[in-house]
């Protein structure tokens, strides 16, 4: 039962790998990597039950957090082509001026 779930998750991971290799859009790849990460987290949980040791869950916990950071970094990079931009809600001084000029 657990082993069957493990195999299912591995199959899903392989399919994600196929999507990652095929692309075609960059966002498809990002989606594939993120989804691969989610499946990996689940795989680690299930696998640690399969082998009867709970240590895998710690790593799953860690990976659930790290996957998020990686995805955000990639997207940030592609949205702004820089890691050094604040995603603040306040418009920058530039845009405020522009908006003022329009109104």
């Amino acid at each position: 039962m657990i082993f069957a779930t493990t195999l299912m998750l591995m199959g899903a991971m392989t399919l994600m790998l196929a999507r990652l290799l095929r692309g075609p859009e960059l966002y498809d790849r990002v989606l594939a990597v993120n989804s691969f990460g989610t499946k990996t987290v689940l795989f680690l949980c299930v696998f640690s039950f399969l082998i009867g040791r709970p240590d895998g869950v710690d790593i799953a916990l860690l990976y659930a957090l790290m996957n998020f950071i990686g995805t955000i970094a990639i997207l940030k990079f592609f949205r702004y082509r820089a890691l050094d931009v604040a995603l603040s809600r306040m418009p920058s001084r530039n845009t405020r001026k522009k908006a003022g000029a329009k109104s």
Binding site: L20, I59, L62, A73, I74, L83, L87
Partner: protein, 348 residues
């Protein structure tokens, strides 16, 4: 070599085989692709799959480190470097391809020849497994009262090694600082914003990201400390915790801007921390010397009980490792982000 030992074909071996197959696919894909962005992502997936394999090979501490480093820090650093360089690789020339193929073939053949001398997979009586490893397993708990043998070997039995590794990390941080600057002035002038991000509506849409990250960042730091202090009983320790806490700050920088991160964790603090960690590590050794024993001998730290002294010493040097690793990762991150991207739109 123990000729009687036969590797069983059970569920774990099947999972191992599938993981190896995935590794091979990813490796070959990296060879074939020229889009550096895809390569960076594949490298992340590669390290992730090998982390899975490490879990299946009982190396939970290693898997922990690999997952923390490969998924978080490495990807961010690679992207930071990509940002300052170009995006696609030129395909290699056929001559070069074939030449390297033959070199690789020859090296591979030589290594394959060496495989015949290796112990069987999973053999408990093989030379690497039977002697010194078993000895550590037997002695660790009476000597140090720490169940996680990896932690005790890392911090106590092989303390010199780890001191060396920590110094290497500090040196790498210094190297990046020397190469990329300390995040201040470049060529005598402060960094100016090269790109105009004047789409206020795009920024307004990131409410979800900001709120969720605000919730996640404390949890990540908390988890980092759990990993640090639970490292004696489960997988974890200073190296992993340092990487995790550094990635929390990196996430903060990604969402709220590097300037905000620098206000929260100033570069000066980070630079001092990088050295301070090694100082704590070395100082623990000196404390042993002062109390009348050898360098990095923790037995004397507690005059009443040697194992407790060991525990104390291990705790202390793990904190040193945590501070150094965390600080160096941040030094590197600040170094990369302080560079001004001079890439033009037509490069993309």
């Amino acid at each position: 070599m123990n000729a009687d030992f036969i590797t069983p074909l059970d569920a774990f071996t099947i999972i191992d085989l599938i993981l190896m197959l995935m590794l091979l696919i990813v490796g070959l894909a990296i060879v074939r692709l020229n889009d550096i962005f895809a390569i960076v992502m594949l490298a992340g997936v590669y390290s992730l799959v090998s982390a899975l394999w490490f879990v299946s090979l009982d190396a939970v501490d290693v898997a922990f480190t690999e997952a923390a480093v490969g998924a978080g820090i490495s990807t961010v650093l690679m992207l930071g470097a990509m940002l300052l360089s170009s995006r696609t690789a030129l395909p290699a020339k056929p001559v070069r391809k074939w030449a390297s193929f033959f070199i690789v073939l020859a090296t591979g053949a030589a290594l394959m020849y060496a495989v015949t001398d290796m112990p069987s997979f999973g053999d408990p009586l093989s030379a690497p497994n039977a002697y010194v490893g078993l000895e550590y397993l037997k002695r660790s708990l009476p000597d140090t009262e720490i169940p996680n043998v990896v932690s005790s070997v890392l911090a106590s039995y092989r303390g010199y090694d780890t001191l060396g590794e920590t110094s290497v990390i500090l040196t790498a941080g210094l190297g990046v600082m020397l190469i990329l600057g300390m995040g201040g002035k470049i060529n005598g002038q402060l960094k100016k914003k090269a790109i105009d991000y004047d789409n206020a509506d795009a920024q307004a849409h990131h409410t979800v990201l900001r709120v969720v990250s605000k919730m996640m960042i404390p949890l990540i730091v908390l988890y980092g400390f759990y990993v640090q202090f639970h490292g004696d009983f489960g997988p974890g320790g200073g190296f992993q915790a340092g990487v995790i806490i550094a990635s929390a700050v990196i996430l903060y920088a990604l969402i709220f801007g590097v300037d905000a991160a620098k206000a929260a964790v100033p570069p000066l603090v980070v630079r001092i921390g990088a050295a301070l960690g090694v100082l704590i590590y070395g100082g623990t050794g000196i404390a042993g010397l002062i109390l009348g024993s050898n360098y990095l001998d923790y037995n004397v730290l507690d005059p009443h009980s040697a194992p407790h002294g060991q525990e104390l010493g291990i705790m202390s040097i793990e904190i040193g490792v945590l501070i150094t690793v965390c600080s160096v990762m941040l030094v590197i991150f600040y170094g990369f982000t302080s560079r001004q991207p001079d890439i033009t739109d037509k490069d993309w």
